[in-house]
């Protein structure tokens, strides 16, 4: 399994204190947050980090977030969507400011990852904030000058809900981006708004015969639908890697 050895080097270790250097609005409920984390030491595309918040009375809450950036260095980017009933995400989206400190522990995870050593075709399929680990793969792919063909299917409710919109609207030469709008499509969009279907995967995804590695990330219902359709289209289940966003 690619990535395992890099992930296994024991850097998870202790909590590290990061400083928020910038916050960008991605959507009404989404923010990308750039953090300098001395000692982070880089991560593989697709890995995540634990984020710990501590209240003045000592109460703590910890959640895992995918890292949207990849590569060496101590500067990382997270992208977070506010869950209305969440405890940590509303803080990160609404309260956190530049200059604030944030405790992190990572990088974590050695399965839902892509490294530039991989040469096969890669199909990325993201729903909503499920784009975040896929964005790290897209950035790692571009930064490394990889020849591996990449395709992204990105499902969002409306154009305004897309994360990393500007970046994805001018993709690099080896990346093909297909947008799926589930509630409202922009005018001129040939595909009517609606949830992703097997027909979308067949029309815009790499065919199973090419044996691409497929990364699917999003809410549980989205991932179940897509993964089941991929297997029905002939994709080998072991080549379909999934990450489901649940909890708060």
């Amino acid at each position: 399994m690619t990535g395992t050895s890099e992930a296994r080097d024991g850097r998870i270790g202790n909590w590290k204190v990061g400083v928020v250097t910038s916050i960008r609005r991605e959507s009404a409920s989404g923010r990308s947050i750039t953090i300098d984390v001395p000692g982070w030491g880089g991560n593989i595309a697709g890995q995540h980090t634990d984020v710990r918040l501590t209240a003045a009375n000592g109460y703590t809450a910890v959640r895992s977030y995918s890292v949207a950036s990849a590569g060496v260095g101590d500067r990382i980017e997270l992208a977070v969507d506010r869950l209305p009933t969440g405890e940590v995400s509303p803080y990160l989206v609404d309260t956190l400011r530049e200059g604030d400190e944030l405790e992190l522990r990572g990088p974590l995870g050695g399965w839902f990852v892509w490294t530039p050593q991989q040469t096969e075709s890669v199909q990325l399929i993201g729903g909503g904030s499920g784009i975040v680990p896929l964005m790290a793969m897209i950035r790692s792919h571009e930064a490394s000058g990889s020849d591996s063909p990449f395709r992204l299917l990105y499902s969002v409710r409306t154009p305004l809900d897309a994360f990393f919109r500007a970046e994805l609207e001018s993709p690099s030469a080896n990346l093909e981006v297909t947008w799926i709008f589930t509630r409202r499509a922009p005018s001129g969009c040939p595909r009517p708004a609606g949830r992703i279907t097997a027909a979308d995967l067949e029309a815009h995804g790499f065919p199973a015969a090419l044996s691409p590695t497929v990364f699917v990330c999003g809410p549980t219902g989205f991932v179940e639908t897509v993964a089941t359709a991929l297997v029905a289209l002939g994709h080998e289940p072991s080549r379909v890697k999934t990450e489901r966003f649940g909890g708060a």
Binding site: M1, W111, G247
Partner: protein
């Protein structure tokens, strides 16, 4: 000394003694799996205990249902930090299954339909601590939650409770399973926060 997060108050409330450190309560039942959900018909389903060389015992769906089925009320703790308290399950105790099997091996690799694996010491499967779960909350198990049958080892983080269970392979040594090769702890005690390597 922890960094105080400016303006963070959290949900507050009393500290719940049933909640291990670093966990939060959920009323949902989140799904976490590394790949597509396998769909297995119960007529095709089999469960076996074996070594790498021989099958020690195999049960069909009907044979498993002929064994005593227990009610289990338990808390469950996922390494992704949600916990669910007071869940109700029905299933066959692994004490019942291991009563028919002779082994001197101390470790087990649980193997699932779809290829998932996870390692557990045999001692953690015995003594009323583990079951082959067939029902959750009064209904048969959804495929998303591991149906038709999953391992249930509630005293360990829930990735040890392998979905779509197909068999247990006896081993003389503790070898890492799927998540254990990909960043998670070999044992996974939620009360000791054994999450990662």
């Amino acid at each position: 000394m922890a960094v105080i997060s400016r303006g963070f108050v959290g949900r507050g409330g009393e500290v719940n003694p049933d909640l291990p450190a670093g966990q939060y309560l959920t009323a949902d039942f989140p799904v976490l799996s590394a790949g597509p959900t396998p769909h297995i018909e119960t007529v095709d389903w089999q469960f076996s205990i074996r070594t790498d060389e021989e099958t020690l015992h195999t049960w069909s769906w009907d044979e498993l249902h002929a064994l005593p089925i227990e009610d289990i009320n338990t808390d469950i703790h996922c390494v992704t930090r949600w916990s669910k308290l007071g869940t109700s399950w029905r299933g066959v105790s692994l004490d019942t299954l291991f009563a028919t099997v002779k082994t001197t091996d101390k470790y087990v690799m649980a193997r699932s339909y779809g290829g998932y694996t996870t390692n557990v010491p045999l001692a953690d499967l015995l003594g009323g601590q583990a079951w082959i779960a067939l029902e959750f909350d009064g209904d048969k198990l959804d495929p998303e939650h591991g149906g038709p049958a999953r391992l249930l080892i509630p005293h360990l983080y829930f990735w040890k409770s392998a979905k779509w269970i197909h068999g247990l392979e006896m081993q003389s040594q503790d070898e890492p399973g799927f998540w254990e090769q990909n960043g998670y702890n070999m044992y996974g005690d939620p009360w000791l926060e054994q999450r990662y390597w």
